[in-house]
């Protein structure tokens, strides 16, 4: 069934009675057509020389039909994208308390340094002795990641968190194979992020769900019955997706190892403990780190991310290709499996072309150097402090299934909205009109109508207080029966609520040129 409890009905009409403009533009918010509707044939925004006459080598393989890309001059293209950008919420502009996403400030120093030609303009396959500085960045980043996590080994290869999870599970699979064992199950708590079971399935395992206790955590007593000889790994997030530290984690790790299985830790919530706690001391075997969460690389509207994975001694040998070695000649890659094996490694293979998200490594390292060990510890403390402050300030009017203290994110459910006719979704949309990006909604699945609020450490107390004030006022509105305000929300955003049902029933996934209208015979 619909485990999220998320309503999907769409109510059209009820047009805003506000002032209509002639152009449809409203002040600084412009209605912007698609580039395909703006462009003209033959126009271009890039001046390129004409090639001198030459003997074409493609012959019959030359392209016969143009791709159908619109042509625009530079001013038109720039205006188009600036107008589009003005229709986006962003951390730079507003509080973005998305639980599990860690929407912290993205320092611009990181952008400047990633763009240095020595980092931006180097080819992955150019002679290795000409990129020793790049290797040094990777080595330094590796050092920080291992030291912060207390783990002996790391791979920088995975392109995103989900790919990091896959990396960890494939390493576990390889380790089991090396032991001559085939174990088919991976245990995942009910509260897990969707990528966890999806990744386990992608790695060829079947997924078994472990229920949470009434206090939102994984209980050793509830886990133990699942720990048969057929279990390859347990995937836990710590702190978990309810924002709580898994108290039993050391005992869980021991039980998992006693059962001959491995402990994969989803590092998405590392921001709560970075610089304070070493996950390695908790008994984990592998953990991915989302550089775009804890280490501030920008979310960019959905990506790119980067998901390096730290490994315990048990798994270190199975890290994917390429490996990096450092000898008298300097740094170089080991890209070939045979060469890796000759050095005692047993890589499970290559996960992607080339060597990883270098652009994100520079940004993350810049962030780490800027914060230092003391700054990072403060990051975790302030992140946890801010979430607890929000929790403490709202839990008398909103329902918190786990009254606290929490770690870096505070979880609420929709119990407080019972009888008001206002859903979690409606509440979220009303926040938009008041200038806030909504928190994560309907995740985790273990509570009904979840609202997961992660302020992060880069918000001022003034912003937190403003958010609390607005949230409290909205709760009062809901309880006073002012449902219309919620149901119609948002009314002040560039678009009202969108018909997602129509989009899924009749998918229109690209622009298509309208066929020329035929005149009647």
């Amino acid at each position: 069934m619909n485990r999220q409890g998320r309503p999907t009905d769409f109510v059209s009409g009820e047009a805003d009675a506000g002032s209509k403009t002639i152009s449809s533009h409203r002040g600084l918010d412009h209605e912007e057509p698609l580039i395909f509707e703006l462009g003209r044939e033959g126009q271009t925004g890039v001046d390129l020389p004409e090639a001198a006459p030459f003997k074409d080598r493609l012959g019959a393989l030359a392209r016969k039909t143009a791709p159908g890309l619109p042509g625009l001059s530079e001013p038109e293209a720039v205006r188009h994208y600036v107008r589009l950008s003005q229709r986006n919420a962003s951390i730079d502009a507003s509080f973005y308390p998305l639980g599990s996403c860690t929407m912290k400030h993205n320092p611009r120093l990181n952008e400047k340094l990633a763009r240095l030609p020595g980092f931006a303009d180097i080819h992955p396959l150019q002679p290795q002795k000409t990129v020793q500085g790049a290797f040094a960045v990777m080595a330094e980043l590796s050092r920080w990641l291992k030291e912060l996590t207390g783990m002996p080994a790391v791979t920088l290869v995975p392109k995103a968190g989900a790919q990091g999870e896959l990396c960890g599970l494939l390493a576990i699979r390889a380790a089991l194979a090396a032991r001559g064992e085939t174990r088919t199950k991976v245990l995942v708590p009910q509260s897990a992020h969707g990528t966890n079971p999806a990744t386990a399935a992608a790695a060829g395992f079947t997924v078994e769900e472990v229920k949470a206790t009434t206090d939102g955590r994984v209980d050793l007593a509830m886990l133990r019955p699942h720990l048969g000889s057929d279990v390859a790994a347990v995937m836990l997030t710590n702190p978990n997706t309810c924002g709580l530290f898994e108290r039993d984690i050391v005992a869980i790790a021991d039980a998992v190892h006693d059962a001959g299985a491995y402990f994969y830790c989803d590092g998405a919530n590392f921001n709560a403990i970075v610089g304070k706690v070493k996950p390695g001391a908790l008994g984990i075997d592998a953990m991915h780190i989302n550089l775009h969460k804890t280490f501030s690389t920008p979310h960019g509207g959905g990506g790119p991310g980067a998901g390096p994975v730290v490994f315990s001694e048990r798994l270190a040998a199975f890290a994917p290709l390429p490996l990096i070695v450092h000898d008298k000649q300097g740094f170089r890659f080991i890209e070939d499996e045979d060469e890796a094996r000759a050095k005692g490694a047993q890589p499970f293979g290559r996960m992607c072309a080339f060597h990883g998200q270098m652009g994100m490594f520079v940004r993350a390292l810049s962030y780490m150097l800027s914060h230092g060990v003391d700054g990072l510890r403060q990051v975790a403390e302030d992140a946890v402090l801010s979430a607890n402050y929000v929790l403490a300030s709202l839990k008398d009017v909103m329902s918190a299934p786990y009254p606290g203290p929490c770690m870096h994110e505070a979880l609420f459910d929709d119990e407080f909205l019972k009888g008001t006719g206002v859903s979690t979704l409606d509440f979220a949309k009303a926040l938009i009109d008041d200038g806030f990006h909504p928190p994560t909604v309907y995740f985790p699945l273990v509570v009904h109508g979840a609202m997961l609020i992660e302020p992060t450490e880069t918000e001022s107390k003034r912003t937190l207080d403003e958010f609390v004030r607005v949230a409290r006022a909205l709760v009062s509105e809901a309880k006073a029966g002012n449902t219309a305000r919620f149901k119609r929300a948002p009314v002040l955003a560039p678009r009202r609520r969108l018909d997602e049902t129509l989009a899924a029933r009749k998918p229109v996934l690209r622009w298509k040129r309208e066929p020329p209208k035929k005149s009647p015979p």
Binding site: M1, R6, D9, T501
Partner: protein
């Protein structure tokens, strides 16, 4: 005798002379929201009791539809391909999912009657 029975996973099954029509209940539809797509079993597919037979998708959820009893799929409701909204409009009538040949019509008795299902839903 034709009769309709119900499962705990919110399928209804209407059987007559060994041929059954299966769909999902109003309760299921209320939980899922607007149905956007239905994946139906191909004719001839062997279905096991409690095994996955179809998938129903709404905007924010996807749910397996299980075969209430074992048998063999005969046809899917062709109307649903172009008009999944039919499931929302008439889940226990025109919004049927698929028909199947039952291996053992007698097993129908093991499923809930309408009254029993109504009670079951009340307790959820």
């Amino acid at each position: 005798m034709a009769e309709t029975r119900y499962t705990k996973s919110h399928e209804w099954i209407h059987a007559e002379n060994g041929i059954a029509t299966i769909g999902i209940t109003q309760y299921a539809v209320d939980q899922l929201g607007d149905i956007v797509f239905v994946e139906l079993p191909k004719a001839g597919k062997k279905l096991a009791e409690g095994g996955e037979a179809a998938v129903v998708e709404s905007v924010k959820a996807a749910s397996e539809v299980y075969a209430p009893l074992s048998g063999e799929a005969l046809e899917g409701n062709a109307e649903l391909a172009g008009n999944p909204a039919l499931v929302n409009a008439d889940p226990e009538g025109k919004g049927w999912f698929f028909r199947m040949k039952l291996s053992d019509e007698g097993a129908l008795k093991t499923l809930m009657s309408k009254d029993q299902y109504t009670e079951f839903v009340k307790g959820l």
